[in-house]
């Protein structure tokens, strides 16, 4: 999406843009804290090295030490005030959260709620009939999926290769660029037939989840969605299939264990089951609207080893 238009066809001036942002944020997460965001932030901070240059034991002048004491004191005071305010403040009635990212509390036993950013809804064109068996209906809210603490996004900016080295539309780097909008310039289109994209995580990891956005500006289901993990870049040895909805066996890659699903802005989460591997490969074979294969974004979450 163009930065200045933001679903409007005309640029917004500064004040309008700020009010637009306020309304969108209010619509997204209501009046309360965005717990999914805070959970993700906590995970990011947990991933920080225990001894970063600025936090590790170090030498310092007395002035710096005084400043550090002031900072710690200020943070403590601010925290106390915020806690007191939080206790005194009457919570407003809960709002319905359309993104369903907000959780009341993370269950202790199941780790943390996996969260990510979602693109805005963009529906264009007339959807074609989706004549596939056992089709999972489109979700109306974001999926909830719990992963072990310490799980992080591993795939952002990582190298992507494909069975179609010269995509028709877009480039392969769009698959891991972090942009999930459905518009032109945000997706890569591979030729028809069974095609794959492969993400190199650069080192082996315990993969907990693969979150996939094929295309979501038109309701459709992709055929033969198969997701595999391996340490072999050729996928000849040590291959684990974690998702397969090839209901008619046409891809000849094993029996379907999953059902076809409708693409939406919420994407689709595939359970990585902690499978160890450096490479993630995703297959598809056209979709219910046309014969082409598309990827807007793939996010691989896991725990680096």
């Amino acid at each position: 999406m163009n930065a200045t238009s933001h679903s409007h066809d005309v640029p917004l001036d500064g004040d309008n843009r700020l009010m637009d942002a306020l309304l969108r944020e209010h619509a997204r997460a209501g009046n309360n804290a965005d717990d999914a965001f805070l959970t993700r932030l906590a995970a990011s901070l947990d991933a920080e090295p225990a001894e970063s240059p600025n936090h590790a034991t170090r030498t310092a002048s007395p002035a710096l030490k005084r400043r550090s004491h002031r900072l710690a004191w200020s943070l403590g005071l601010a925290a106390t005030i915020a806690l007191a305010a939080g206790l005194l403040w009457k919570n407003p009635p809960a709002r319905e959260s359309r993104t369903a990212q907000v959780q009341e509390s993370a269950p202790d036993n199941n780790g943390m709620l996996l969260s990510t950013g979602f693109p805005p809804e963009l529906i264009e064109g007339t959807p074609k009939p989706m004549n596939v068996p056992h089709l999972v209906p489109a979700p109306t809210k974001a999926p909830e999926f719990y992963v072990p603490a310490g799980t992080v996004l591993l795939s952002k900016g990582k190298k992507v290769t494909s069975s179609d080295a010269n995509p028709i539309i877009g480039t392969l780097d769009l698959v891991t660029d972090g942009e999930k909008d459905a518009g032109e310039g945000y997706y890569v289109e591979l030729q028809d037939g069974l095609q794959w994209v492969q993400i190199d995580l650069e080192k082996s990891a315990g993969i907990q989840a693969i979150w996939i956005w094929h295309f979501h500006s038109q309701r459709r289901a992709y055929h033969d969605v198969i997701v595999q993990i391996s340490d072999d870049p050729e996928f000849k040895t040590g291959v684990t299939t974690v998702y397969n909805n090839d209901y008619d066996g046409s891809a000849k890659m094993g029996k379907a264990t999953d059902n076809p699903y409708v693409e939406t802005r919420f994407g689709r989460i595939v359970d990585g089951k902690g499978t160890k591997g450096r490479y993630v490969r995703l297959y598809s074979n056209g979709n219910t609207s046309n014969e082409m294969n598309h990827y807007i974004e793939v996010e691989v979450f896991g725990i680096s080893r």
């Binding site: 500064g14 843009r17 942002a21 969108r24 990011s44 901070l45 600025n54 925290a79 529906i123």
Partner: protein, 191 residues
């Protein structure tokens, strides 16, 4: 303590960033994140990018806590970090457009007003917005509800309301102006 260390002593983690400091930082994050998400979204016009900018800004802030001037406002400091992150983002995404300095200054003034009661995590701002939304005239209210809260495309809303797309855009613009004026009236200003 060894006399040699009087001029160059060690700051252990427990002083520079004690566990309590991490907890305090988490509370500050809770207190500021919604306002910062609004700010980043105004810059980036994209939910995912905004969340990434704020996330990265908090991590940078945590790494550089010793550079924070405690006489300054924490939110203003983080907005500065977000602006830097945004400019880094722009260098990698040439198609996106920067915001001019005058607009940034105007936003800073607006946040100075909105930040007054940030201890409640900007809840007062958002509650006041709720109230203002309830008082929008019907045609504007319907347009705002469908566009922002139900995320319907403009063309579909215009068709459903029997208006053309230009009228739809004008209605949205008028609604935002009305809401901004309402917030100005209802929110306290700096003394």
């Amino acid at each position: 303590m060894n006399a040699c260390r009087h001029n160059s002593f060690m700051i252990p983690d427990s002083v520079a960033t004690p566990p309590a400091g991490r907890q305090a930082f988490a509370i500050l994050a809770r207190e500021h994140h919604r306002g910062l998400l609004i700010y980043a979204r105004a810059l980036a016009c994209n939910e995912a990018t905004a969340a990434d900018l704020v996330q990265d800004a908090f991590v940078s802030a945590w790494r550089n806590l010793d550079r924070f001037d405690v006489t300054r406002d924490f939110g203003a400091w983080l907005r500065g970090i977000i602006r830097n992150k945004w400019r880094e983002h722009l260098r990698r995404h040439a198609r996106e457009v920067d915001v001019d300095d005058a607009t940034l200054e105007a936003w800073e003034a607006r946040f100075a007003q909105w930040d007054i009661n940030r201890n409640t995590g900007h809840a007062e701002l958002l509650d006041t917005l709720d109230d203002c939304l309830k008082h929008l005239p019907d045609p504007m209210s319907e347009t705002v509800r469908r566009f922002y809260y139900q995320e319907e495309p403009g063309e579909r809303i215009a068709a459903a309301l029997g208006i053309d797309i230009t009228t739809f855009r004008k209605r949205l613009q008028r609604a935002r102006q009305t809401l901004r004026a309402c917030l100005d009236r209802k929110l306290p200003t700096h003394a």
